[in-house]
C-alpha cells in the first residue's frame, strides 16, 4: 500500500482544493491518518473508493470521539528588558536596561470539537487501513458533518450510532435516527461531560443525599392522569 503521505498527494492531485491534512500517530501502531475538510469530504471519499489504485471499497469502522474544551497551561521562557539600578563606573547609581529571562505560565483554551473517525480497507487490493477523520466546528451548535453513507453503505448504522451517542448530525444520511437509545432520549451518553441520570429510582433503601433528591423529585412531579396509583385508590 502507498504510505499515507503518498495517498495525500494522490488525493490532492485527484481532487483539486481538497484541503487534506496529515495527522501523525506517535504510538507504535503508526496508523497515521488524514483529516478531511467537511466541505470536500464527499468528493475525497468518492475518489478514495473509485480510484483504481487506492480502491478503498470497504469501510470497516466508524467511531465518534469527543474532544471537550481543554485549558492548556504551558511554561514559556520569555526574554524581556527591565530597567535596573546598577552601580555605575564612577560609584553613582545608574538606571540601565538589562535583559532578563523569565519563565511565564501561559494559559490558552483549545476549542472543543466532535470527531468522526473512519477506518478504510480495500477488499479488491487487500490493503489498509487508511484512517480518515473529520471534525465538527464545535460541540454545541455546529455539530454537523457530511454523511459518507451514500458512498459506503457500511456507515449507515454506525453513523446512526455516532449521532445517537455523540450528537454529530450527519447531513445526507438517508435515515438518521437514534440507534441504541430510545426515541425521545435527550442527551448524548458518550460525551465526556455526560451526567448520568439520578439514581433515586433504583435505590431500594433511599437515605441521605439520595432520599433528599427523591423527595425533591416527588414534590416537583405532578401525578400523571390515570396513573396506576390513582386507579388503585378510586377502586
Amino acid at each position: 500500500m502507498k504510505t499515507v503521505e503518498e495517498i495525500k498527494a494522490a488525493i490532492e492531485a485527484g481532487v483539486p482544493g481538497a484541503g487534506v491534512e496529515f495527522v501523525s500517530n506517535p504510538s507504535p501502531s503508526a496508523q497515521h491518518s488524514l483529516r478531511l475538510a467537511p466541505a470536500t469530504a464527499l468528493a475525497v471519499a468518492t475518489f478514495l473508493r473509485d480510484d483504481a489504485e487506492l480502491a478503498f471499497d470497504f469501510l470497516s469502522n466508524v467511531s465518534g470521539v469527543d474532544w471537550p474544551e481543554k485549558e492548556i497551561s504551558e511554561k514559556v521562557k520569555v526574554t524581556r528588558t527591565v530597567t535596573k539600578t546598577v552601580d555605575g563606573s564612577d560609584g553613582q547609581k545608574v538606571e540601565q536596561p538589562v535583559e532578563e529571562t523569565v519563565e511565564e505560565t501561559r494559559k490558552h483554551t483549545q476549542p472543543g470539537c466532535l470527531e468522526a473517525v473512519y477506518h478504510l480497507y480495500s477488499v479488491a487490493k487487500k490493503h489498509g487501513p487508511l484512517v480518515i477523520r473529520m471534525r465538527t466546528a464545535n460541540r454545541t451548535d455546529h455539530t454537523d458533518l457530511p454523511s459518507l453513507t451514500p458512498i459506503w453503505r457500511a456507515a449507515e448504522f454506525q453513523e446512526r450510532e455516532v449521532f445517537d451517542l455523540y450528537g454529530i448530525i450527519f447531513t445526507g444520511h438517508p435515515d438518521l435516527r437514534r440507534l441504541l437509545m430510545w426515541e425521545g432520549f435527550k442527551d448524548y451518553p458518550m460525551r465526556r461531560d455526560y451526567v448520568e441520570p439520578d439514581d433515586f429510582e433504583y435505590e431500594p433503601t433511599a437515605h441521605d443525599e439520595v432520599l433528599k433528591r427523591a423527595q425533591e423529585h416527588k414534590s416537583s412531579e405532578q401525578p400523571a392522569e390515570g396513573s396506576r396509583d390513582q386507579g388503585m385508590t378510586t377502586g
Binding site: 506517535p26 501502531s29 471499497d57 470497516s60 469502522n61 470521539v65 453503505r153 457500511a154 451517542l165
Partner: protein, 390 residues
C-alpha cells in the same frame, strides 16, 4: 467480483434497499417481530410491513440490550475491560479477548511469545468450530427441525466448552488472554484432551453434513433465498462467512497475517450464489478448515513462555496515540479502536461489532421475500445480541 461490473453499478442509490410496491389488493399489515420472538436470538425487533405474505418494508430496531460498554470501558483500566469483552459475543469470548489484546498490543508495541500465539490460534479455532456448529443448529431449528440438529451441535459444543472450562475456569466467560500473552499455560493432559476432541470433530462434521447438506427441506427453503450481491456486501461492510458466501475472497486471517496464521495451510471457502444455502455451506467448510488448523497447531505447539517478559502488568499506561486492531472472529471482522492519552484508562474505546454491521443488509435481503423466510435470512446472518447492542 470484477471491477468493471461494480463500476457500471454505481448510479445513485445502487447500494440502497429496493423499493417494493404492494400489489394493491388488501391492506398492509404491520408486524413487530420481536423483541421476544424466539427466532430473534435475544431481544431484537424487526418492524415489518407485509402485503399478504410478502415483506414490503423492514426496519430493524436495536438497543434492548444496550449497556454502553464503550463508556464503561473508558472509565476502567485497560485490563479491567478484558473480562467485559467476554460479554460482547458470549458465544465466542476467546476471539473477543484476542481482538482486544491485539488492539492493545498494537497500541503499545508488545510482542507475543510463540507459544502464546499457538495457544491463541488453538482456542480461536475451537471457538470458530463451536460457533459455526451452534449457528447452523439454530438456523435449522428456525426452519422447523425442532431439536435434533441443534442437539447434535450442542453435544460437540459441550465438549469444546469443557476444554475451555478446564483451561480458563469458565465455560463461556473465559477472560483468558492478556496483553502480550495468555493468562495460564496449557498442561499436557489438557492438550491430550484437546487432541482427542479435535480427532472426533471431522466425524461430527461428516455426520452433520450427511444429515443436512442434501436434505430436501433445507435445500428448498435455503437455495435462492436471501441473495446478497457481492458488490453490495463489500459496500455495506459485511464481513466473515456472510461476505465469503457471496463469493468475495476476503479472510482477515489471510489478509492481515495477524498472529501466526501464515504458518498454517488452510483454504478460504467461498460461495457462488450468496444465498442462505451458501452461508450454511461456507460455515460447514470453515469448520473443516478450522479442524485442519487445529491439527497443525496442536502438532507444532512449541515450548516456551506464554507472556512477554517485558509486559507491564501494574501501572499499565500506553503512550499517547491510537490503534485499530481487528481479527477474523467467527461472525466477521471484530475490531477494537483505542485512543490513549497516556493515562491508565483508554481515552476512547470502540468496538467494531460484526453482528451489527452485518445486519445493515438484512432489509435488502428480506424485501420481497415471504415473512417465513425472513426468519431464516435473519438466522443465516448469525448474530449475538450482546454484540449488536453492546
Amino acid at each position: 467480483m470484477s471491477v468493471a461490473e461494480s463500476k457500471t453499478e454505481k448510479v445513485a442509490g445502487w447500494n440502497r434497499p429496493p423499493v417494493i410496491e404492494p400489489d394493491g389488493e388488501g391492506e398492509l399489515l404491520e408486524v413487530a417481530m420481536g423483541p421476544h420472538h424466539p427466532s430473534t436470538h435475544g431481544v431484537f425487533r424487526m418492524d415489518v410491513a407485509l402485503d399478504g405474505e410478502r415483506v414490503i418494508r423492514l426496519k430493524p430496531v436495536f438497543g434492548y440490550l444496550h449497556r454502553n460498554h464503550e463508556k464503561i470501558a473508558e472509565g476502567a483500566a485497560y485490563l479491567a475491560s478484558m473480562p467485559y469483552t467476554d460479554r460482547l459475543d458470549y458465544f465466542c469470548s476467546l476471539t473477543n479477548n484476542w481482538a482486544y489484546a491485539l488492539a492493545v498490543e498494537k497500541l503499545t508495541g508488545q510482542e507475543v511469545p510463540e507459544r502464546a500465539e499457538y495457544i491463541r490460534v488453538i482456542l480461536a479455532e475451537l471457538t470458530r468450530v463451536q460457533n459455526h456448529a451452534a449457528s447452523i443448529g439454530f438456523l435449522i431449528q428456525e426452519m422447523g427441525a425442532s431439536g435434533t440438529p441443534l442437539m447434535y451441535a450442542f453435544r460437540e459444543r459441550e465438549k469444546i466448552l469443557d476444554l475451555f472450562e478446564s483451561l480458563t475456569g469458565s465455560r463461556m466467560m473465559c477472560n483468558y488472554m492478556r496483553f502480550g500473552g495468555c493468562r495460564v499455560d496449557v498442561s499436557a493432559p489438557w492438550l491430550d484432551a484437546t487432541r482427542k476432541v479435535v480427532a472426533g470433530l471431522p466425524q461430527f462434521v461428516d455426520e452433520f453434513e450427511a444429515l443436512l447438506s442434501t436434505n430436501e427441506i433445507l435445500m428448498a427453503r435455503c437455495q435462492g433465498v436471501g441473495v446478497l450481491r457481492p458488490e453490495l456486501a463489500v459496500n455495506a461492510g459485511v464481513s466473515g462467512p456472510m461476505l465469503r458466501a457471496s463469493g468475495v475472497n476476503y479472510d482477515i486471517r489471510k489478509v492481515d497475517h495477524y498472529g501466526i496464521y501464515d504458518r498454517f495451510q488452510f483454504r478460504v471457502p467461498l460461495g457462488d450464489h450468496g444465498d442462505i444455502y451458501d452461508r450454511y455451506m461456507v460455515r460447514v467448510l470453515e469448520m473443516r478448515e478450522s479442524i485442519k488448523i487445529l491439527e497443525q497447531a496442536l502438532r507444532d505447539l512449541p515450548a516456551g513462555p506464554i507472556m512477554d517478559a517485558k509486559a507491564k502488568i501494574r501501572g499499565f499506561r500506553p503512550k499517547p496515540g491510537e490503534a485499530y486492531g481487528r481479527i477474523e472472529a467467527p461472525k466477521g471482522e471484530l475490531g477494537f479502536y483505542l485512543i490513549s492519552d497516556g493515562g491508565p484508562n483508554p481515552y476512547r474505546y470502540r468496538v467494531r461489532p460484526p453482528s451489527l454491521i452485518n445486519l445493515t443488509v438484512l432489509e435488502d435481503m428480506s424485501l420481497g421475500q415471504n415473512v417465513a423466510d425472513v426468519v431464516l435470512i435473519f438466522g443465516s446472518v448469525d448474530i449475538v445480541l450482546g454484540e449488536v447492542d453492546r
